[in-house]
Symmetry: C2
Subunit: 458 residues, 2 copies
Amino acid sequence: MNDQIDHPDTEAHPLDRRAVAAILYAVETNDRQKLIELMEPLHAADIADLLEQIGPYDRARLIRLYDREFDGEILSELHDNIREEVIGLLTPQVLAEAVRDMESDDVVDLVEDLEHPQQQAILHALEDSDRVAVQQSLSYPEYSAGRLMQREVVMAPEHWTVGQAIDHLRRADDLPEQFYHVVLVDPRLRPVANVTLGKLMSSRRDTRLADIAAESFQIFPATQDEGDVAYTFNQYHLISAPVVDDDGRLVGVITIDDAMSILDEEHEEDILRLAGVDEESSLSDTVAATSRRRLPWLGVNLGTAICASLVISQFEASIAALVSLAILMPIVASMGGNAGTQSLTVTVRALATRDLTGSNVWRVVRRELTVGLLNGLVFATVLGTVGMLWFHSPMLGAVIGVALLCNMIIAGFVGTVVPVVLEKVGVDPALASGTFVTTTTDIMGFFIFLGLATVVLL
Amino acid sequence: MNDQIDHPDTEAHPLDRRAVAAILYAVETNDRQKLIELMEPLHAADIADLLEQIGPYDRARLIRLYDREFDGEILSELHDNIREEVIGLLTPQVLAEAVRDMESDDVVDLVEDLEHPQQQAILHALEDSDRVAVQQSLSYPEYSAGRLMQREVVMAPEHWTVGQAIDHLRRADDLPEQFYHVVLVDPRLRPVANVTLGKLMSSRRDTRLADIAAESFQIFPATQDEGDVAYTFNQYHLISAPVVDDDGRLVGVITIDDAMSILDEEHEEDILRLAGVDEESSLSDTVAATSRRRLPWLGVNLGTAICASLVISQFEASIAALVSLAILMPIVASMGGNAGTQSLTVTVRALATRDLTGSNVWRVVRRELTVGLLNGLVFATVLGTVGMLWFHSPMLGAVIGVALLCNMIIAGFVGTVVPVVLEKVGVDPALASGTFVTTTTDIMGFFIFLGLATVVLL
């Protein structure tokens, strides 16, 4: 990032240290008036951040004091982990009022992860028509376009003119809060094109809507995966897109802000999974929850580390005869692990952005092998020289150089092939690749170096 | 992800294996008609992907054969690394025609990374008014809101009514391709509010624009960092937002699709940097470029690995006396590295999403230390038992257990504190944290385990 750019200081952020301290002081002193006054200028997203950042004890006291001021939008903005806790803290009246203000797609997002009793409490608080809409959305699979869409759609028959559409819109009294397109539909309610509002505004009244349709137009089946939806929005720069049922009939619309949130979540998932952290993790988790979430991959890692030790133990006699082997062996493993992680991350990322496909996979694998070979030669020379000078043994230098070269080529290979294979068999490549790759480079690194040394030096 | 969800198969993607093969065959046989026919249904973003996926030789032949069909939008969609190469392949006429069709913000994005001669060639191809607009945008710092914005803005005086605004829009003949808001400005051209087109459409003609202004409204200085802009769009669900100069006057507008691209780029940067890969990397890099980009961090890693070996070499005598130490020591280092990477990734991610701030940093550090302690106790017990049974030495089991516990607490500490400190001093925490953290856990792991063993066992 560039030095000439203004980075807003912490002071400028609505939730700086001082603001948080003032709010917590109001809670401490039970000063409801002051609390409301301090919270009033904050956006619901900032209040949600605040609730996530403070401890559970302060959170409970703040919510009780804030009471009826609590807005439904805050619930939408909260991280899943903490939302359930907050809902449990609200009185039934406050909760009912909060959800009644929300858009139907936000209510869906809110209730889908809740336990049954809490879900029922919220559904009962809704008006009948809203409840039906929410229940219909919930009938679509989790993480699908049907769950993501809003049901309020502005549509027009494909044969209408601009004038007809404008008159219709001006007469309508229940237009959605936010909409960017008029969806053109055929007589069977199947969407055929989008017209942007801006285009509508700037066209003559007698223009046919079909003639000013937007170029980029995509239709999503309600059952399509939300990750695919987010990818398509990003790839084709969509602003909103219609969602259809099994018969191709228009049932809702997805807007770019929802797609942006999904893209953000998918990234979070990738980055956490690559590090072996449960993707549901959040800073607001308790210590116990955090420990539990991290245990599984640490356990797997302990298992693979013990396997690597078993490999080393096969060469116990060699190490006893030549302690320098024990001193040098971690370098071979570490360099392989690093090179493998580089290949792995590039590959996982390319799979996520669909830059890596059936048509170029072999070219990419070949490239990674060649890169492993080239960088392997560079570092084999350096490390070989270091080893030779350090232990005054040209042969030891040669052995560690060759072992490093081999391990870096292996790293390039497994770093690319493992995620591609996982993707092929339907497992998220970010999920298990890290452990597979570093286990391979550890074990191979120890095996090749110690094996070669045993044959050549002893 | 859920099993019930439709994943579009590779066949459904516009750029599947067969499509790529057919296109390459048309290139191979020099069949221009066929090539144009095959490329016609593809979106510019897909054509850009295609050019990135094929090799440089095919790329050059395809572009020469495609010739005048080449569209400016393809250039906008290409990855930086390959864009320069493609521009070099276009004839001056094709290039001139391509850029003349582009929006001013896309031209800015195109020329900002080019070498001077190519930049001049493109600027000369533009019409005078467009050239001035592009040059003005280029006067803002790189990665700033000023570079990101489009200069075409739809504005209205704050005192206007809905009727006045609609009449004005209907009369205007140069409205931007895409716009979602009318920006309300005061007499000095300073933006005061946004009105969405949908709201405008559905309000009575005598309503004052100021009364139907959108709730979420943010103004960006032209010099603000684009990462902050993207964060703010995502946090407050903005669709478009005005950009102002130093005097607070409206100079342009940023739309959510640009913010979404930036968010995507920032994620890519984080994920690649965490793995020690140059963030400019792309699958379309040559082998030589890829090797060069990966060398620096591998070099740093070699240095730190040698440091760790130096630590081990201090305990040469202990290892010679007890080879089991060499067998077990990588486990302590590996577990520490994994636990440290988990803490690190969660922290880097929380800093990026601004969930980790001055007001909760100590709570987070304390939590990570406690998690390190808890998980350390679990795995110390397991590994201690394994070590004891494997080498029939209760004391060795105790030593490795204690060493593992210490290293996991250290991992939690450095995994959290290092990125926070880097952020504080203005370095991207994703950039250098990985090496710092694993170096610390490697060195401390070897030192504590071998040191303790030397004192207790020998």
